[in-house]
């Protein structure tokens, strides 16, 4: 008995230990890569420090503040502020503090410039919401302390630069006052606050910068009103546009007296331009107005007189002014010309003279220049040199100096909208061999090193060389398909409308393409990329046809704006074609059918609930017609709390006859009572998920049949009161209801109400289970629940003989209109982290066990075995259940530090986790994106189908060698022995025969 229990113990030990997927230190970077980005730069401030490395501090639209190395563009330090903590302004104070104003001007922070440590933070309150301004006057001193001037929330603050203390504050409570500019003329102790009141009155406040005392308040009314922004042309003059956008108002408030002059734009420019807008710039004496086609630069001469200095139809970008000496200001101007950009640096008062004129070749795929930031340096010959930082349309950041691009950053990748994958081209003959022969010596050296490493003869330097060789292995970054399916292309669509193809091996950009269809045009004013779909995935013609993706975009933010489709070849990045649709795209439904060229059929639903079939070919139509009656679609109106199911009816009526357009009719609707439920999350299974089996074998060889349906929708609703922030409601008035709805018939298969819970709800649906994460108000903890759904109507299929002979109907096609009998099992557990994203691993055949991938609040990805979320867990599992691998029930889910997929790294601003199956069944590819990108391979049940990286080849080799040697030696020995035996036999024989011959002789 003791032995038996010993065996049991060993078995328990080996099977029920939760698998730990930690890495060794030298495995970091072998299969994973991490890229850091910052997002589209909004504002850049150059550090004017003389000593140390040159750096630039930037704030971005992803709410990142970062300090970049000006020489290489690397990140020194970086901070990601929260999603609702939008940065309004940054500046450098005292040469060593980075000051940031964020959250609509209510939070002011100071960071240490060299290392990015936060020095102080102040919260600024005010009477009302307003624009916010951050000024760092260089000469405004207050007891040796520099003063920051901040206007935010209708209040002017003077703040100490050293400790963030508010020195004085002044409210601007006038109801309709809208601040437009806050001006601090250098060399004076005055602050001007100018703005509009009631949209036709110009107001000017003069304030003593020492104590916040109001010195003067003047106002003047303009009957024509104002539109847009004002541009500051000198410390005491602003230019504004009237409400029609056709008359320029030059308002000067010298010595507290407001005087103004009106100049119609038509006086300055002959032809009529239509309504214009002012491009804000801080260059003194010059401002620019822009109409649809033309940009006009206008100079202010003397008493409000205006003069056109340049008129251009090119796209143009202007930097802020940079003061280079006492009375000189320079600014940079960038104009586009076909494949080049022209950079000119001019002095503010001398338009015609150029300090610098350079032309830089620019990749067309970067689009237009959106922003320019200028900085100067002193050359060795004591003259001024200029460098400019430019932000392009694709959100990339480039530094230009001496007519060259010094460095560039692809910061568009910080704002990924959608991700899909594509296979790489199939390997053709002779590619790899040539490469090997090319540097045979290197190859030999590499193998020698590796051999040394495996035989443990390598010195530390050799080890380092081996490690770098492993990391840079050309095998993983080849541009061809591999046997295991690890090498793929990640096709990502960014917010800038650029499509990137990233290689999964090393994360490099294989190609990038700024979509033409996402370019601003006459027909499409503000195109927005929406989603990516796999359009064509050739399997049969993999050698001669390239896969392509479909990019769905829309002209404008409203849902009824017309859609645009573009088709992009994933091998080359070429836009194959693009279609401007005459209808909106509200939903895209990829259908599970492909035509003979393996193009997937897609159904696009427009705002009028008409369904449009793509591709528009007769073949696609005939395929579609065949399945016509079996195609349904549903819409979730989360604002109204209604889920509706629709079926296709007939061809579109009215308008032009279009045989690819179909009317739809409503089939069913689920209406959630708006006073008690609000939809917060809906989730379905992934379309491409593969399920291996419908049966689940439970303890004692019993079998349960999973209810596996592609058409199940998980819906979570919460009480409308509880849809706010966590803790805003009491447990009694908050609840969460989870539904499982069949989207073909509208049948609610399962409904469960949890009381005292609150969102946000994150959910993931796979196979026959759904896992969701929420907050438990009673326990003050986060929780995760699992629902598993089983088909009871199949449960009596237990006759072995029927199953052996195949006389069962378990695999015959089923209709959802037949009445299902389902049972659900569910369980809840406490979980420590709040989540940003949740996903589940997916493998090629669906055999490998699943892991949940949890994007934690700390921007890491945690892998959690699905076995922990098994509703059959009990406190004391029986012997059989233990053998099955059921873990004893605990109230909370364990967080094993080694199971962080991202190990020591963080994916800042984590937004999504995508899993893609590799060809190797055990392995799944994981891509996590946010501001940073992270990619790795995971094997949820370990790599049971291939040798692991740490497999001891040396031991295998030594064993084989030893065996061969042993075989050889024993063979020799046996041969020798045999020979000896023979000799002894023959000698015996010989002596006998001699004797007999003697005997015979005698005879």
């Amino acid at each position: 008995m003791a032995i038996r229990s010993f065996f049991l113990f060993i078995l328990f030990f080996s099977s029920s230990l939760s698998p730990v997927f930690s890495l060794y230190e030298d495995q970091v970077g072998l299969m994973d890569w991490h890229q850091q980005y910052i997002g589209k730069v909004k504002q850049a401030v150059f550090s004017s420090q003389r000593a140390g490395r040159k750096r630039v501090v930037v704030s971005t639209e992803e709410n990142v503040i970062a300090s970049l190395d000006l020489r290489h563009g690397e990140i020194f330090w970086r901070h990601l502020l929260g999603a609702d903590d939008v940065i309004d302004g940054i500046d450098i104070g005292l040469g060593k503090y980075v000051i940031t104003l964020s959250s609509g001007g209510s939070i002011l922070r100071s960071w240490n410039l060299p290392d990015g440590q936060m020095v102080w933070e102040s919260s600024l309150q005010g009477p009302k919401h307003s624009k916010s301004f951050l000024l760092v006057p260089t000469n405004l001193k207050f007891d040796k302390d520099n003063v920051l001037v901040v206007f935010s929330n209708g209040r002017l603050h003077a703040i100490s630069c050293i400790d963030g203390e508010v020195l004085w504050k002044k409210d601007f409570e006038a109801e309709s006052f809208e601040v437009q500019q806050v001006i601090q003329p250098p060399g004076s102790d005055l602050i001007y606050v100018v703005g509009f009141a009631a949209s036709y009155q110009f107001e000017m406040y003069q304030i003593n910068a020492k104590n916040g005392e109001l010195l003067k308040h003047e106002s003047a009314s303009f009957s024509s009103g104002f539109s847009g922004e004002v541009s500051l042309v000198s410390t005491e003059t602003v230019v504004a546009l009237d409400s029609t956008g056709s008359i320029l108002l030059t308002i000067s408030f010298q010595d507290g007296k407001i005087s103004s002059q009106q100049t119609p734009i038509s006086n300055l420019v002959e032809e009529s331009l239509g309504p214009a807008v002012i491009i804000p710039s801080s260059v003194s004496g010059i401002f620019a107005i822009k109409t649809d086609a033309v940009t006009v630069f206008i100079r202010v001469i003397g008493e409000g007189k205006l003069e056109v200095v340049e008129k251009t139809t090119h796209e143009i970008a202007v930097s802020d002014a940079l003061s280079i000496s006492e009375d000189q200001e320079a600014f940079a101007l960038i104009q586009h010309a076909s494949s080049e950009i022209h950079l000119t640096v001019k002095l503010a008062h001398d338009w015609d003279g150029n300090l610098l004129k350079e032309s830089v070749k620019m990749d067309r795929q970067r689009g237009l220049v959106h922003k320019v930031f200028i900085n100067n340096y002193i050359r060795t010959d004591r003259s001024y040199g200029f460098r400019v930082l430019i932000v392009m349309e694709d959100h990339s950041l480039l530094l230009l100096q001496q007519g060259e691009i010094v460095w560039s950053r692809e910061d568009g990748l910080a704002s990924i909208i959608d991700v899909t994958t594509s296979e790489l081209p199939v390997e053709r003959n002779g590619v790899s061999v040539a490469k090997v022969e090319h540097n045979l010596f290197e190859w030999l050296k590499g193998h020698m090193l590796k051999l040394k490493g495996t035989l443990m003869l390598a010195s530390p330097e050799d080890m380092a060389a081996i490690q770098s060789m492993r990391l840079k292995s050309s095998e993983k970054s080849k541009m061809t398909r591999d046997h295991n399916g690890f090498r793929k292309l990640l096709i990502v669509l960014t917010r800038a409308g650029k499509l990137f193809a990233l290689h999964t091996g090393d994360g490099r950009i294989v190609w990038s393409h700024l979509l033409r269809s996402l370019h601003k045009s006459e027909a499409c004013q503000s195109p927005i990329g929406l989603n990516l779909y796999q359009w064509q995935v050739p399997h049969h013609h993999a050698m001669d046809e390239n896969p392509s993706v479909l990019v769905v975009s829309r002209c404008g933010p409203s849902s009824d704006a017309p859609g645009v489709l573009s088709f992009v070849d994933t091998y080359t990045g070429k836009e194959l074609s693009s279609l401007s649709l005459d209808h909106a795209v509200v939903q895209v439904i990829p259908l599970p059918y492909t035509d003979s060229t393996e193009q997937r059929l897609h159904l696009l639903i427009n705002a009028d609930k008409h369904a449009h079939l793509y591709p528009k070919t007769s073949e696609a139509l005939s395929i579609f017609k065949r399945e016509f009656l079996n195609i349904y679609w549903y819409s979730v109106e989360d604002q109204n709390g209604i889920i509706k199911g629709h079926a296709l009816k007939c061809k579109c009526t009215g308008e032009v006859a279009d045989e690819f357009c179909f009317d739809t009719r409503d089939l069913w609707s689920v209406v959630f009572p708006s006073e008690s439920e609000k939809i917060v999350a809906t989730v379905t299974r992934k379309l491409n998920e593969v399920v291996h089996t419908q049966a689940k074998v439970v303890a004692d060889q019993d079998v349960m049949y999973k209810y596996i349906s592609r058409n199940l929708l998980f819906v979570a609703t919460v009480a409308p009161k509880g849809s706010g922030e966590i803790g805003s409601v009491t447990p009694e008035e908050s609840w969460l209801v989870a539904y499982l709805i069949d989207t073909v018939t509208g049948r609610i298969l399962h409904r469960v109400t949890h009381h005292g819970l609150q969102g946000p709800v994150h959910a993931v649906f796979s196979e026959n289970w759904v896992v969701y994460h929420y907050f438990n108000l009673r326990a003050h903890r986060y929780e995760m629940s699992v629902i598993e759904i089983y088909d009871q109507s199949r449960a009596d299929n237990k006759d072995v003989w029927k199953l052996v002979l195949g006389k069962h109907n378990l695999t015959s096609p089923i209709s959802l209109f037949s009445r299902p009998e389902v049972i659900t099992k569910s369980q809840s557990y406490f979980f420590t982290h709040s989540l940003k994203a949740i996903a589940v691993t997916s493998t090629a055949k669906g055999i490998t066990s699943k892991q949940l991938l949890l994007g934690t609040i700390g921007d890491q990805v945690l892998a959690l075995d699905k076995r922990f979320l098994d509703p059959r867990r009990t406190v004391n599992p029986t012997q059989a259940e233990k053998e099955e691998g059921i873990i004893p029930l605990t109230d909370s889910l364990p967080i094993i530090p080694q199971s962080y997929v991202t190990h020591a790294l963080r994916v800042e601003g984590l937004r999504g986790i995508i899993t893609v199956p590799a060809k190797l069944e055990s392995t799944t590819l994981v891509f996590a994106h946010g501001v940073d990108l992270f990619f790795t391979q995971l094997a949820p049940s370990r790599t049971y189908d291939s040798l692991t990286e740490d497999f001891s080849y040396a031991l295998l080799l030594i064993t084989i060698v030893a065996l061969v040697a042993a075989i050889f030696v024993t063979w020799r020995l046996s041969e020798r022995k045999e020979l000896q035996e023979k000799w002894s036999f023959y000698s015996a024989f010989a002596s006998q025969s001699t004797f007999s011959s003697l005997f015979l002789c005698d005879n």
Binding site: S559, Y634, N711, T811
Partner: protein, 179 residues
């Protein structure tokens, strides 16, 4: 070996055939030695030989029964081993189970061979053979039973449905929250 053969082949000058036991005296030119009669080997005292033969066949029958009963000991040992191995699937229990299955099978295959030495027209081997077969079948049954207790026999529904793919659904539905 080759070498030895070569030497022998070429170096043979003469040979004596000792296997010559023909009864005819004139097979050779040389007469038999005096007092040597070739026929005397076969001619024996008939009574002595019959007694000997009876004893031998008795002994053979006895031995055959012993051999037939031998698997019983094996059976007991196997049972003990199986109990030791426990009811969980691992290397030890699988090894034991498969040897428990293999032994009877190989023994049954070689039933004829096992009883070959005791073959005698006077000895009735049917009884021992049947016992031998029965005992081995018992061993086989024990092995199968063990296999079943280990759960390695596909006797449950779960063994046949575990890789059954999910049923196809006729209908298809897509959609979701509007883009």
């Amino acid at each position: 070996m080759e070498k030895g053969k070569g030497i022998m082949g070429s170096g043979r000058r003469w040979a004596v055939d000792f296997s010559d036991n023909s009864t005819a005296p004139s097979s050779r030119d040389i007469p038999d030695p005096p007092g040597f009669t070739r026929a005397s080997v076969d001619q024996d005292d008939s009574t002595v030989s019959r007694q000997k033969k009876d004893a031998e066949s008795n002994w053979k029958a006895q031995k055959a029964w012993e051999v037939a009963q031998a698997p019983f000991k094996n059976l007991l040992m196997m049972g003990f081993m199986m109990w030791m191995a426990g009811n969980t699937v691992h290397l030890f229990s699988i090894g034991i189970t498969f040897s428990a299955l293999w032994q009877p099978i190989s023994a049954l295959q070689g039933v004829g061979k096992v009883f070959e030495p005791y073959k005698d027209n006077k000895v009735d081997l049917l009884g021992p053979k049947l016992l031998f077969i029965a005992l081995n079948l018992g061993g086989l049954a024990l092995g199968v039973w063990k296999l079943n207790t280990l759960g390695l026999l596909p006797t449950h529904a779960s063994d046949w449905v575990s890789s059954l793919p999910p049923a196809q659904e006729v209908e298809y539905s897509g959609g979701g929250i509007p883009l």
